[in-house]
Symmetry: C2
Subunit: 267 residues, 2 copies
């Protein structure tokens, strides 16, 4: 699922998103993949606490798939405390429940809250733990709330970049104004009712003529059924023109041959 449209505005990109803090990431490649997932979601501020490998290594840059600018701007810290010192809110992502009295948020709720904090000028961040062990209890205790991704409880192992992707995805969705459903018609116009009614008239005239609608007591329901089929199709003007042609040529052929008789529909 590749595709980047450089001509569309980078909505969501910019330095207004929450800071992503990776605590002791083990593999540089994973840091690169996190950068890629962040940029997908319009997140740009990455902090690293005691990364084990060089996050600007060749492997990391390759794994970032073009998001290496984000890696180059990443800042590293010796301790979690230092990495979160200037933040006003900190969320901790975890997969395991901890023996702590702590607010638990879904990524969707967390994203909405992060938007709210940023809207009033706060500077929030989200922490992700080392690949194998997750965040330490001490790091979790530094956070205001825990974010847990609702996933199949019998199998919820996410890699680091996937965890960042899901949190980032919800962050992006929380501002995104994509219509939940739309018909993409690429510049053509949706057919007006008049255009449709003209088409139905054409269709029904030819179906009367060829004998398809020959049984008077069945005709009204047959006509309704056909109209419903084409109504459901959300036709464009261009498509209606195409269908006019389909009917005409089915009935008369390309060279305008005489209408076939109705024998076929009587057998």
């Amino acid at each position: 699922m590749a595709g980047t449209n450089h001509t569309r505005a980078a909505q969501g990109a910019g330095d207004d998103g929450p800071v992503v803090i990776l605590i002791q990431p083990q593999l540089a490649e994973n840091v690169g993949m996190v950068a890629r997932a962040m940029l997908n979601c319009g997140l740009t501020r990455l902090r690293l606490v005691a990364p084990r490998e060089d996050w600007l290594s060749e492997k990391a840059i390759a794994a970032s798939s073009g998001a290496d600018g984000l890696l180059r701007r990443a800042r590293d810290y010796d301790s979690t405390e230092a990495a979160v010192a200037d933040l006003t809110r900190v969320y901790a992502t975890t997969a395991r429940r901890r023996d702590m009295v702590k607010t638990l948020l879904t990524p969707r709720t967390a994203a909405a809250k992060l938007r709210g904090f940023i809207a009033v000028g706060e500077k929030p961040g989200v922490m992700f733990g080392p690949e194998r062990t997750g965040l330490s209890n001490d790091d979790v205790a530094l956070a205001d709330a825990i974010v847990e991704v609702p996933l199949n409880p019998a199998y919820c192992s996410l890699n680091l970049a996937q965890a960042v992707l899901l949190m980032g995805y919800e962050w992006f969705q929380s501002r995104d104004d994509s219509p939940p459903e739309q018909l993409v018609i690429n510049g053509t116009l949706p057919a007006s009712r008049e255009v449709l009614l003209n088409f139905y008239a054409h269709l029904e005239r030819e179906l009367d003529a060829c004998g398809f609608l020959r049984t008077p007591d069945k005709r009204p329901s047959m006509v309704r059924n056909l109209r419903n089929i084409f109504n459901r199709a959300d036709l464009t003007e261009q498509e209606v023109r195409t269908l006019h042609g389909v009917i005409k040529e089915l009935r008369y052929g390309r060279n305008g041959r005489e209408p076939t008789d109705n024998a076929g529909s009587d057998t």
Copy 2:
């Protein structure tokens, strides 16, 4: 972010989810990572159309991180038509807009619709194209609608497993009943108002005694501010007991020494 709780019921897991159809996946490793992402989201039915590599190779099994059962049950087909023949609805995931008149859904809307189809006994599926090129226009034309993930339009390259993960995540969320926000208190009880009021009485009595609340006209607002601080903390019974101890020992010391005089707060 690792963590799998085998004792919790595998809600969402089962063969009731949409079929995932990978069209010409290039790398076996990616098929393995797709299996992992699917299982995370409770999806179990995988179909492959003309995969280039063996999806049961060592690399694929390793990449599936324990979701290899799903790989073993995967079915392969020669053509997209054959792979979708028994399905009643098919969605196509794409990153590029196509020059087609087609309904476009967000993953969230698509997930809700898939739930609806399955609830009435239909068998829907979601197609994902080859890693580099995405679905062909002919494959897209076979689908009822297109699913496009709203992401940073200036950078929306997702790898195959990430695309499956985001669709599967929305599938799982569409049924998940995790509360959007909850306080996890691990078996302890939230403090009742009575328990809190007793605590406030204790605190205020000691603050009166030590002189902190000595200015009569400031006392009411000071008391309100202190109560608000502790109200916001959503205290449990155990935490209130701890705080009673904190006040007592701050004031009298561990060995019950005499209260210090109030000189300190007068300077």
